[in-house]
């Protein structure tokens, strides 16, 4: 198929940036979206134009490195990561607009690449269980109810890609924070730090400049790992309990 691409180019964080138009031809339906961009970049390199910078690493939907707003949707039209989006989701003659994540706490580094280190700092503020190496008890000494363990797993699948933030009109990272609060809060090992964790993580979230949640639900709809919206209810519930108890 032949496509028209409108791609955001921005030389650096302080550059103004803008959309540039490119044509690509003979794109196979079996290509991934990023392989289509590889074709464009090879073409640009031949022409002596600097290739488009974009993030990707595992290209199997698990590392969370890839991003991209594709026609205004985080990770494009399917419920998956951009690297797992295939060109069979598009048709010959389509015009595709490709932009970076848009959120103040995710400043653009170059072209389609943004800085998501705010997520690391949120984890540093409390997204862990304090268990020094060597101090762990026998693994089966603390059974974890299967349903709770399953819920913990289902939300622990968050890949930290930032699509939730990009999709949210408020630029909120509540889904990201809620997923971690729920993951660790559902497990017996996570209980000792449960209340301080939620207070600290929400504090860091707000400090980074992410917006508040107003129950729009775009985050859960955009999440490639289908983290459900109820983790935000869990977040609010835990936060309320923590604050009520003076944490």
């Amino acid at each position: 198929m032949n496509l028209t691409l409108k791609i955001w180019r921005q030389a650096g964080p302080n550059d103004k940036g803008g959309l540039h138009t490119y044509q690509v031809a003979d794109i196979s339906a079996d290509m991934s979206f990023l392989e289509m961009l590889d074709v464009l970049n090879e073409q640009l390199n031949e022409k002596g134009e600097e290739p488009v910078a974009f993030d990707s690493d595992c290209r199997e939907g698990i590392c969370g490195m890839c991003s991209l707003m594709i026609n205004g949707e985080a990770h494009g039209p399917e419920v998956t990561t951009t690297c797992q989006l295939h060109m069979r989701s598009f048709k010959d003659g389509d015009t595709i607009t490709i932009e970076p994540w848009r959120a103040e706490p995710f400043p653009v580094v170059k072209d389609l690449i943004v800085d998501r280190s705010a997520f690391d700092r949120i984890i540093q503020s409390g997204g862990f269980i304090s268990a020094n190496t060597g101090s762990a008890p026998e693994a089966n000494s603390v059974p974890a109810p299967r349903d709770k363990a399953m819920r913990a797993f289902n939300v622990a699948t968050c890949i930290g890609c930032g699509a939730c933030v990009a999709a949210c009109p408020n630029g909120s990272a509540s889904l990201f924070v809620g997923a971690k609060i729920t993951h660790l809060g559902e497990l017996p090992q996570g209980q000792p730090e449960r209340w301080s964790r939620v207070v600290d993580m929400v504090g860091q979230h707000d400090h980074e400049g992410f917006g508040g949640c107003t129950n729009i639900g775009e985050c859960a709809a955009a999440c490639p790992k289908e983290i459900p919206l109820d983790v935000i209810s869990q977040l609010n519930k835990d936060l309320r309990t923590a604050l009520k108890n003076g944490h």
Partner: protein, 674 residues
Amino acid sequence: MAGSTLHDGLTPLNGPSEQKSDDARGYYTLGDKLVDPVAPTGPIKDRWTTRKFENRLVNPANRRKLDVIIVGTGLAGGAAAATLGEAGYNVKSFCYQDSPRRAHSIAAQGGINAAKNYKEDGDSTFRLFYDTVKGGDYRSRESNVYRLAEVSANIIDQCVAQGVPFAREYGGLLDNRSFGGVQVSRTFYARGQTGQQLLIGAYQAMERQVAAGTVESFTRHEMLELIVVDGKARGIIARDMVTGEIETHLADVVVLATGGYGNVFFLSTNAMGSNVTAAWRAHRKGAYMANPCYTQIHPTCIPVSGDHQSKLTLMSESLRNDGRIWVPKKKEDCEKDPRDIPEEDRDYYLERIYPSFGNLVPRDIASRQAKNMCDEGRGVGPLVGDFRRGVYLDLGDAIKRLGKDAIEEKYDNLLDMYERITGENPYEVPMRIYPAVHYVMGGLWVDYHLQSNIPGLFVSGEANFSDHGANRLGASALMQGLADGYFVLPNTIRDYLADGPFEKIDETHEAVVEARRSVEDRVQKFLSINGTRSADSYHKELGNIMWEYCGMERTEDGLRKAIDMIRELKADFWSNLKVLGSADTLNQSLEKAGRVADFIELGELMCIDALNRRESCGGHFRAESQTDDGEALRHDDEFAYVAAWEWGGDEGQPVLHKEDLIYTAIEMKQRSYK
């Protein structure tokens, strides 16, 4: 109990090997034999305990004065950063990704082995040790492997305490499954995302130390040179990939946990950024590269669909527990819809050839047999070139037996991923799989302490060579990464650091200045060649050479040809490369050029190593060394050694140092899964 006889570890069961063939003559120089200077002795079950006691301690008050650089944040690097940070050392952690959480350990699907024996099915530390040595085709060091098996149970405890959500049974206790070529259930898993969950555990532990101030995290940084001062590793030169700045980082000790080099094949299941540069730069500074030709080709990957392909995707081989692998008996059926091929016309070739292990034979055997079927013209799927590269992995029987829901619960995300990539529904149509490069057993040579032959340079995880011999068993990579990071390295590095802090050096030291200048010159060189071809195009060409001649099956003639082709490719690369953009900004073409340059040199060494090893063992199959019925034939009398290669200079030849593998607890036997 034939086949599993164990010995106490007090007497050697074999002597040194004597190589008769010399296929690689003219390509290398033979150096002195190599001996692990810290190899433990005594009863095998006591070796690690004794060594932990013998290794010196570092006073807690001195630890914060000791600087530790750790490159890589996967399981081996992230776990080590967390643990050494907790201990109070001053850790600097580096990764090329935008966050430590993205290291490629995250993509491991199936599980992690541990000798917990929760199923009471006969498992034990000894059995895990035995299976790993045997699975590695008797080309690993037994002391290292025993230690790996020994600490495996601690890993599970540690991960559970961190909140890793492993699969559980209804009673709330941990579930296990049997995995990849073993007959006990010792594999712990988190659906098909075990690597992700373990890595997030290590990442969170490491970020906790960042908050505590013991670990400083440098993301989007790539190590481009090792700094060696007076024979000791004392730091690295790294490039800030955002600003382009070349930075000097000095330390008392350097740990490389930089993963494997499977991307030398261009197409592999590795991440796009996975590379050999850190290890290769260390190699060029004197660190030996061991068994570089040992490559694992994973049997269950999604086949190549065309020339545009940028990477291959693995389907966890846990699918082999429930999936039956087959090809049509008749060539003319290969184009048919597999659902129209009746049972009697299907060849379940693994079940036919290996009746006792069936679809669960080790990876190397499953891969090679898939290749054999396709070479016979019975491959399935689209023609790529003039060849069909695929075999069926059929869940049909399992769905009938267990129900669709049970299969979905076990493999949900894998089957979704398959459908997304291929556009085919695996619940209805048998999946197509084909082998792909997945893991490398080779890597930098290390001693029992995981220290390379450069003092102060430690290497952990996939980046070292030590634990998997010539073939790695399923669910053992996660085990090794975490064993090295949480439990081994922290207990060995302290013996080295007990002599520190070492003499202060600064950025004006001539070795530092030289290292830095060499990096800057190289960057400028890439930008100034101004030729016509992208680094990617060279990478693809190198990958084709490696896959064709140094892949699943290798021949003497093919390897010689490959070496010539790689040398030509290298010359062309350095005269015709085209890298646009500048050095002082984010420049992905420039990053790629550096990685491809190192892959080209590595590729040549892999071919020389493969050429020298005229035997078939594990992931290394030499056509000249097979049994009458086409199975791999090892030559223990000639090749029971680790091939540790020393860099011979840009114009010189690599120097081969042989480390004899002497077993004291397990007798070497030809593997047979028939």
